[in-house]
């Protein structure tokens, strides 16, 4: 493919900003001849109207990154549990009345409830109070400590939240504290990805939750490492992906202060930390979905988690407490292209590869 004279290359661009309780890094990679989406678009344009092509302005990379980060700030301001002035916290103060909400909050809630429904409650946006009472009431980055003045309704579930799509209102049936952490972060990543779509090749890293667009610097699909749940700088696997999100939920972050063995992912069905898995990674078309399903899969554990992911048509990798790897059928790791030859696990639904536990290895 000859270089299109109308394609000006965008210099590699990288910016890191602290937002949403974590660090968000956006990098836009310069265009090479391997930027198919963009090149195609321009040649199409050339065909239809050759006169107009020189007028076509290269989108301003810096401006797009500005807008991308603005989404993070906007969605954080709306959905954070750590600011009593946020729309989410204002909503939780009004029980029993339909409250009109912004489209960000409505869509985030609607999606969270849909995932809750699909996962049988393994993912539940109403765990906010449980999180708070267990000491997760301090925003990591800024250190803000929040304690809501809520009566602890013992058994609230996602069914206590009603949405009305016509009037776009939210009705909370009982006092509850919503936690949209994962969904909001995922949504922000997706919105940022939309802003950056014109650049084709970019990566968004929001504290280990990723969206990878197009290709990396070398023109190859992005190579994504998956953190080893028990090793700080080690990876347990790596993947080659393009145009999708990769999110991981692990028990190694945010250890609970009030419990010895607690961490930040609660099993909404029991109200205590989930222990069926030590890490769950989901690869999905949107970060919102990947993040929510990673949490759900983590809570469900290897067998049920893989079953859920297979049913919903996304890919994932779940690490059991014995550091065994369970993957969906479509998950093929980067370094071992032939590793689809995965041993079928005794549990049937889940595919399993030998792990550190020293279980019999896989067929080679």
């Amino acid at each position: 493919m000859t270089k299109n004279p109308y394609v000006r290359t965008v210099p590699p661009y990288l910016r890191t900003v602290p937002v949403m309780g974590t660090l968000v890094t956006i990098q836009v990679v310069g265009h090479g001849p391997e930027a198919p989406q963009r090149a195609e678009r321009i040649s199409e344009k050339q065909e239809h109207d050759p006169q107009r092509v020189p007028d076509w302005e290269e989108p301003d990379c810096e401006e797009a990154v500005d807008r991308a980060f603005a989404w993070f700030h906007r969605i954080e301001a709306c959905c954070t549990r750590f600011d009593p002035r946020s729309e989410l916290m204002q909503l939780t103060a009004r029980i029993g009345v339909p409250v009109p909400v912004s489209s960000i909050l409505f869509e985030a809630l609607q999606f969270a409830l849909a995932v809750a429904e699909q996962s049988g409650g393994a993912f539940d946006p109403t765990v906010g109070h449980g999180m708070e009472t267990r000491g997760f009431n301090r925003e990591y980055l800024s250190g803000r400590v929040v304690r809501s003045a809520l009566e602890p309704a013992a058994s609230v579930t996602y069914r206590d939240v009603r949405l009305d799509p016509d009037s776009r209102t939210v009705l909370l049936l009982r006092p509850l504290l919503l936690d949209l952490g994962g969904v909001a972060k995922g949504l922000a990543i997706d919105m940022a990805a939309r802003e950056l779509a014109a650049f084709g090749n970019f990566a968004i890293d929001a504290g280990g939750d990723l969206y990878l667009g197009g290709c990396n610097r070398d023109g190859a699909p992005w190579s994504v490492g998956i953190r080893h749940p028990r090793g700080d700088s080690e990876l347990i696997d790596s993947l080659r992906v393009s145009g999708c999100a990769v999110c991981t939920s692990g028990d190694y972050e945010r250890r609970s202060a009030s419990e010895v063995d607690g961490h930040h992912i609660l099993d909404p069905r029991t109200g205590s930390s989930a222990h069926a898995a030590v890490s769950a990674t989901v690869v999905a078309p949107t970060a919102m979905l990947a993040d929510a399903l990673a949490t759900a899969a983590f809570v469900l554990g290897p067998a049920d988690g893989i079953r859920l992911l297979e049913r919903l048509g996304v890919d994932g990798l779940i690490i059991s407490p014995a550091i065994e790897r369970f993957t969906t059928r479509g998950m093929c790791s980067d370094d071992t292209p032939g590793s689809a030859a995965i041993l079928s696990d005794a549990q049937g639904a889940a595919h399993h590869r030998s792990g550190d536990s020293g279980r019999p290895g896989r067929a080679v």
């Binding site: 603005a70 849909a114 009472t133 250190g143 939309r194 994504v224 998956i226 078309p285 290895g361």
Partner: protein
Amino acid sequence: MKDLPIGKRGLISLAVALALGITVIIVDSRWTLLVGVTFVLLATGMLIGARAARSRQQYHFIAEPEFTREKISPNLVVLSSAAVLAIYSAGYFRTRAAANRLIEQAAQQRIAALAPVNAPPSPPEIKPNQAATPSGTPTPAEPPRKKLATRAPATARAPKAASDSPADPSAPRQQASQSGYKDGTYLGWGSCPHGDIQAGVIIKRGQIVDVGITQCLTRYSCSVIKRLPGEVLDRQSVNVDVVSGATESVYAFHDAVAQALSKAQGQ
């Protein structure tokens, strides 16, 4: 023909139409030929219609349960994409100025919130706060112990960061910090397994006016894939672009800010 759902009347009218058409065609006249062809076409149309009606009935039968099943389990992929579209089309910030205003607001909030973080164990500041807040909370005995414990990691990490710079017990010094900062721009480094982060803090008139990341050197390429026993694949050197699940960089940022602030205090 028997299973066609057109009934006796339909069958008779079909036969009449067909017969009429054929007779009109046989009677050789240019005028009537057209009418005959029309009748034949009409008859064919009726036949096709009847068949279609039958097959529609069958399709309906099979399709209905599937359709309802589809409705029960919405496609989450579609739902999430639709949500992104809906929000995007709501047009939150069409202009760069709007986006920048928002970023500035957020920065202000961050600065306001950051001051207490970097003075981790300042009891006079925390305790009144705790005394004030639990009024509405149902667990009055819990908060003090918990909150101190929550802060423990921050305290534990602070000396580590300070050890890079010649600063020592950061706690008592930072307690009096607010006014103790000297004006200027200060940089500090923090590191995590995946890279180093340099934070910059700008102090004006003794106050923090800006905090940000000035450099972010991620070095994922140093990472090693955990070799699993039993895997005998010849792996090339692993060089990944990004790591999923790696959130340690937040600690590195904290360390970097702590270091920058300790410099601002004249160390």
